[in-house]
Amino acid sequence: MPSFIHKPRRKVVLLAAGALGLVVLGALSASVVLLSGAYSTAATTQHFKITHRLLDAGLRFSVRSHASGVKVPDLAREGMLERGAACYRMHCVQCHGAPGVARHPAGRGMLPIASSLAQSAREWPPEWLYYVTRKGVRMSGMPAWEFRIADEDLWSTVAFLTRLPFMTHQDYLDLHAESADFSCRAPTEMRHDALHGDVKVVFRQYACHACHRIEGIVGPKSRVGPPLVDWPRRKYVAGVLPNTEENLIRFIRDPQGVSPHSLMPKLDVGEVHARQMARYLLASE
């Protein structure tokens, strides 16, 4: 064999061993940090600056990439501003505050802190605002509003947000008063693109997995309610009604109506969502 193959071979082996050693060392250190509990999960402890910068930048890059296909409708239509103000009043001001309006105590103790939307709306294009409002931000306190607010009113909220940087305290209060006659509407039908074959997001957005272990869904090992696994072969819903699609929908939408004193809360599940969930469970194996 030619000599140039033999000579660097030792170096390659050493390098490979060194790299592997580093990987192992890294994994071990990570395990030690994790298992010892040395990493602080307290919301009162700051991130390192570099960590914060990276997370922040990461959020922007991700939102930019995922919001690129969003088409912004006309935000100046009649009533949008007032509806957006209603949504803001009901769902946003608690954590984000408003011009001259403090956020609730809940919004003050968070890490990461909810941004002042007057600034976000000034710096971010409407598509980004829509995307974050709709999809939420994982591992922060920002929920996804897609399943709580109808799409038109997500845009109404965005319309409101685009005006927010230019409001004085009085402007805000006036709009707040005008919004009293408007409501922030819940969705009446599933968005087609939200489905994408993934009905599981419906379960997660109603927090079902906070109490139940559900086939195909990643979540805590919940034992508050029975496991929703191997569901097609189960015979009863809540031990009371035969396991059919209609009975399952009935129970999901009105637990106490089916089983008085049931500890499963009424979650105002829309009929469409309930049907999707029922079909998912009855088709799972």
Binding site: R233, K235, P242
Partner: protein
């Protein structure tokens, strides 16, 4: 009687055919062992001696023809006698037996019942036993039950065995040997025992997916107890007055149960499944698969496909929790 003895070839019930079979077995094992030892001894002797002591011819004729001829002839007579005593086969000529093997003149196999002898028709189905008592000549519809036989002690009871789908085999090891239940044919078995008790039997011919869960109970009782039981079995059911029982009764008719099950005295007269007229008094459910109480009954009604997958009874899928309980209570009351 303890569980271990209730279904065991090694623990034949006193006065039963199984006892005779046990004895036959012992004779065969012991006889074969003795013969085997003897033959091995001769082989060893032949291998290690230098001179033959006796003439070869004597040994060959004596040991190879005379000895087997005598012993096998004795055994043949003995086993035919046992078979006849067990009444699995008809006593009578070997020729008739031979012809019967070829399906010739098979009608002659079933003699008319002795006057007063109890005759029970058992039809094997996938995967349960349809049991009909012939209390009057030709009448097999008055006393119908499933998965259980009750017999008086010290009396021969004639069983007429057949099948409506595939080959099954009736086997209550503590009482008798196996007798096949063949579609299109009726086989006869006479059982008896002198000891009251509960005897468990099983299907002994593979008959499909739930063959392993096709069992039955034969309960031997004193004549008096048996008479009481038989009288009760002949009675029909009346619609109940009690509110809970009534709601169970209504649930039965609201659902699909009457399509396959009969409850004499009510409008239910389905034929595909076991008769339920006195289901509450049975020793087991689902052909010996479950004990019989309100819990197992509810479980069986709601989910038979989980207990015996593939069996003919579908999951009910139509009773609310309350209805299921009420239905179980009503059925349990049918004793």
């Amino acid at each position: 009687m303890s569980e271990a003895r209730l279904q065991s070839v090694l623990h034949a019930a006193p006065g039963s055919g199984a006892e005779l079979l046990s004895e036959l077995g012992i004779v065969l094992y012991v006889g074969a062992a003795v013969t085997f030892v003897g033959v091995i001894a001769l082989v060893l002797h032949a291998t290690f001696t230098r001179r033959l002591r006796a003439s070869t011819r004597a040994w060959v004729v004596g040991g190879g023809i005379v000895f087997p001829a005598i012993t096998l002839f004795l055994l043949l007579n003995y086993s035919i006698a046992v078979g006849s005593a067990v009444s699995a086969i008809d006593s009578g000529s070997a020729l008739r037996l031979l012809l019967d093997c070829f399906g010739i003149d098979s009608k002659a196999r079933i003699p008319p019942p002795a006057p007063g002898a109890l005759r029970i028709h058992v039809v094997g189905k996938q995967w349960w036993w349809d049991v009909r008592y012939e209390v009057r000549r030709g009448d097999t519809n008055s006393i119908v039950l499933a998965n259980e036989l009750r017999v008086p002690v010290d009396e021969p009871v004639e069983l007429l065995l057949s099948s409506s789908d595939v080959i099954h085999s009736f086997w209550v090891p503590s009482l008798a040997g196996k007798v096949d239940m063949i579609p299109g044919r009726t086989n006869r078995l006479v059982i008896r025992t002198s000891e009251p008790g509960v005897y468990r039997g099983q299907c002994a011919e593979y008959c499909g997916g739930q063959h392993a869960l096709m069992a039955l109970y034969v309960i031997a009782q004193s004549r008096a107890d048996f008479e009481t039981w038989l009288e009760r079995q002949a009675q029909s059911v009346e619609a109940p007055q009690d509110a809970l029982l009534r709601s169970g009764y209504d649930a039965f008719f609201k659902g699909r149960c009457p399509e396959c099950h009969a409850v004499r005295g009510t409008p239910a007269n389905g034929v595909g499944g076991p008769d339920l007229t006195h289901v509450g008094s049975r020793h087991s459910l689902a052909a010996g698969t479950l004990r019989n109480h309100i819990g197992t009954l509810a479980g069986w009604i709601a989910g038979p496909q989980d207990i015996k997958p593939g069996n003919a009874m579908p999951d009910s899928e139509e009773y609310t929790g309350r209805e299921l309980r009420a239905l179980s209570v009503w059925l349990e009351s049918l004793e």
